[in-house]
């Protein structure tokens, strides 16, 4: 406990330096903005801003990128409540009760509980990350190569199982991601693989190009293909204050949402949207006001909004302790760390205490800032929505193009992004989920390394993966998860939970 406190004190020392506070604020503001705007999500934005962070120290860069991620969870709720337009997937459920509340004249109350619930959830899960991080790290340090391989396999399986749509296709996308990760120089022999003699490919396909092409540009094309009419805000926000009765009704949903979100956030492939859906389903079953669901029940805002923010924070746990990304945003964080020369993994807590504790504390600082800036600035965010998409998408394209070019000062990266834009377009037309691909791409090279090392140590004996207890357990869980999802009953339940 004492150690935790002194670590947190150290973290706040880092997080509260002027530069880091400014970048946390900047990240939170950008995050809120993109959360408000439909059609551009945190994955695209973070990949867009990656090059900009290169000039900053690693800690500052990660603090800002993290701010974008949880800021987006906040921003997404605003438009869900006011306009019935979810800015992010994770805020889709908020439209169900939040917009109804707005039509009942309680928009202000819905916005307040969304912000307050998120803040409470964020504070709790920040503490959870701080407390569990070092402990998990200790466990992770006893892992051998075989255990690591199995752990990554488990991560990939779960991320595919929990992705939207067909499990089989998601697994195939993970494998395709691993395939794409093979391109480049083989680490152990130095041989060029799948590079076609192109020198730019010897470092592998560009991570930013893939993320930006598929999630940024592919998304723009799809948005332009089906233009949706955006309703202009009507009605007033109303009083931001909660009535005493409303506040009382929110206590239990916030607590339940926080706990559920914290757990679901840790799971690979889980993350914010799953947590929000889970919490909504939970509340609609256990709440004492469940008969009001569908007509603007405040529990249906308080629970999911707490859950998605809690999950956004705890999804940092596998990244910070094991070096394994739980979702596409965390995969980008791995990319950002590697570009900064830091190998994410269990040694990070000791080797980079500033980064580890600074990031954790900055999450709390960022959440506080969001609470303070968000409610007074609601009017400004709504104005932002009135910028027509026709002016927005060329701006996004310009930023993408400059960002990609400045990675290596190479036009090759621009064309590479273009290529993945085409691929992303094809994927979405064929209903192939792209998020598992990104996770596979990041984990693939690490898996290969651990596989080769494990096989070398075991002298080519493949049973090493089931003989080591840790590895065997992880593989067992992966197998059960896979088998369970192939059962029709569970699958339809998942589809219902994830249906937009």
């Amino acid at each position: 406990m004492e150690l935790l406190l002194s670590n947190l004190a150290h973290g706040f020392g880092v997080a509260l330096t002027l530069n880091n506070v400014l970048f946390a604020l900047l990240g939170a503001l950008i995050g809120t903005a993109i959360g408000v705007l439909p059609g551009i999500g945190p994955v695209a934005t973070i990949s867009l801003l990656l090059p900009i962070t290169f000039g900053q120290p690693a800690t500052t860069a990660i603090i800002m990128l993290a701010g974008i991620y949880y800021g987006a969870q906040y921003g997404g709720s605003t438009t869900s409540i006011l306009l019935n337009l979810p800015g992010e997937v994770s805020s889709v459920v908020t439209t169900l009760e939040g917009y109804k509340m707005a039509r009942n004249g309680r928009a202000g109350a819905a916005l307040t509980i969304a912000a307050v619930g998120s803040f409470i959830a964020g504070s709790f899960s920040t503490l959870l990350v701080a407390a569990s991080g070092p402990a998990l790290t200790q466990v992770a340090l006893s892992f051998g190569p075989a255990d690591y391989f199995s752990l990554m396999l488990l991560g990939l399986v779960i991320s595919a199982v929990l992705a939207q749509g067909s499990v089989l296709k998601s697994i195939a996308m993970v494998v395709l991601g691993v395939t794409l990760g093979l391109v480049g120089t083989d680490v152990q022999t130095g041989q060029q693989r799948f590079t076609f003699g192109v020198p730019e490919l010897s470092d592998g396909l560009g991570f930013v190009s893939i993320a930006m092409g598929i999630f940024g540009i592919g998304e723009i094309i799809l948005n332009l293909e089906r233009p949706e009419a955006r309703s202009v805000l009507s009605g007033k926000v109303g009083s931001l204050m909660l009535t005493r009765a409303e506040a009382k009704r929110c206590v239990a949903p916030v607590i339940r949402g926080t706990l559920l979100g914290s757990v679901l956030g840790i799971l690979p492939g889980g993350g914010a949207s799953l947590a929000a859906f889970g919490s909504y389903m939970l509340e609609s079953k256990v709440s004492s006001h469940r008969h009001e669901f569908g007509t603007g029940a405040i529990e249906g805002v308080a629970g999911p909004e707490s859950a998605n923010n809690a999950a956004a924070q705890t999804s940092f746990i596998p990244l910070l302790t094991l070096g394994i990304p739980a979702n596409a945003v965390m995969a980008l964080m791995v990319g950002a760390l590697i570009i900064q020369g830091i190998q994410p993994g269990p040694r990070m807590v000791e080797a980079q205490p500033d980064l580890f504790w600074g990031l954790i504390c900055s999450m709390w600082v960022g959440n506080l800032m969001l609470l303070v800036i968000n409610l007074p600035l609601i009017g400004m965010w709504v104005k932002l929505l009135q910028v027509p998409y026709k002016y927005l998408y060329p701006a996004i394209l310009v930023f993408c193009a400059i960002g990609v070019y400045s990675l290596n000062n190479s036009v090759f990266d621009v064309y590479q992004t273009l290529f993945f834009g085409i691929l992303g377009y094809i994927f979405s037309k064929l209903k192939m989920e792209a998020a598992p691909l990104l996770i596979g791409f990041v984990l693939g090279p690490m898996m290969e390394e651990h596989l080769r090392r494990a096989m070398l140590l075991s002298r080519g004996d493949i049973t090493v993966f089931v003989e080591r207890p840790i590895s065997a357990t992880l593989l067992g869980i992966a197998f059960i998860a896979l088998a369970a999802m192939l059962l029709p009953g569970l699958r339809s339940g998942k589809d219902k939970a994830l249906a937009e």
């Binding site: 494998v175 395939t179 394209l397 310009v398 930023f399 064309y415 037309k429 064929l430 080519g460």
Partner: protein
């Protein structure tokens, strides 16, 4: 039979990519473009992991393909005749430009790739159904082509003009204003604040 066209194509795409990969990797009949050493399970060579992963991908693609036969119906959007024609012409012309420029030596700085993409995508965009795809990606290609010879400002304007064709609501005045605004904004953010190394005006590289 209720065929899911989407899954059918998805499975086919996965198998096709796996096939290409395996061919390059040299796992089949010893024929291969790059011929990676396979090694043994104990000492895996550079070709071992690709072989495992690509065969897995091939198998998954095959399962998706077969399952698609009774998974549907889930049809792709129907294509008009014009869509087929522009796609075929666009791809053919792009490949031609790429091969010819490669053969004649106009291939410094991937100009052949950029030009082939640009022309192919613009041809594709003749069909209204392909227009968002063609113009958005085409604007990206022209940005890549112009950036180093003509500088950032001209590239931004070109990108704005080309990409604005993708949305029919744009007016010439709106595009001009937007281009100007983005030029100023990008100059401030990327040149003044971040000082990235990129030519701003023609001839400054």
């Amino acid at each position: 039979m209720k065929v899911s066209q989407k899954d059918l194509w998805a499975g086919g795409l996965l198998m096709f990519l796996a096939f290409i990969g395996l061919w390059i990797n040299g796992g089949m009949l010893g024929l291969g473009l790059e011929q990676h050493t396979l090694g043994s399970a104990r000492r895996m060579g550079p070709g071992y992991m690709p072989m495992l992963v690509l065969w897995l991908q091939m198998a998954l693609g095959a399962i998706i393909f077969v399952a698609a036969l009774r998974n549907g119906p889930d049809d792709l959007e129907s294509w008009k005749k014009l869509d087929f024609v522009t796609l075929a012409v666009g791809v053919a012309v792009a490949l031609l430009i790429w091969r010819v420029m490669e053969a004649t030596g106009y291939n410094t700085n991937y100009i052949q790739v950029g030009l082939a993409c640009l022309v192919g995508l613009l041809l594709l965009a003749i069909s209204p159904a392909w227009r968002p795809l063609g113009m958005v990606l085409g604007s990206f290609a022209i940005f890549g082509l112009l950036l180093e010879p003509a500088g950032l400002m001209i590239s931004i304007v070109a990108l704005c003009v080309i990409s604005s064709v993708a949305d029919r609501e744009h007016t010439p005045l709106g595009v001009a204003g937007m281009s100007l605004f983005l030029c100023v904004l990008c100059w401030f953010v990327f040149i003044y604040e971040l000082d990235i190394r990129v030519p701003v005006w023609p001839g400054s590289f």
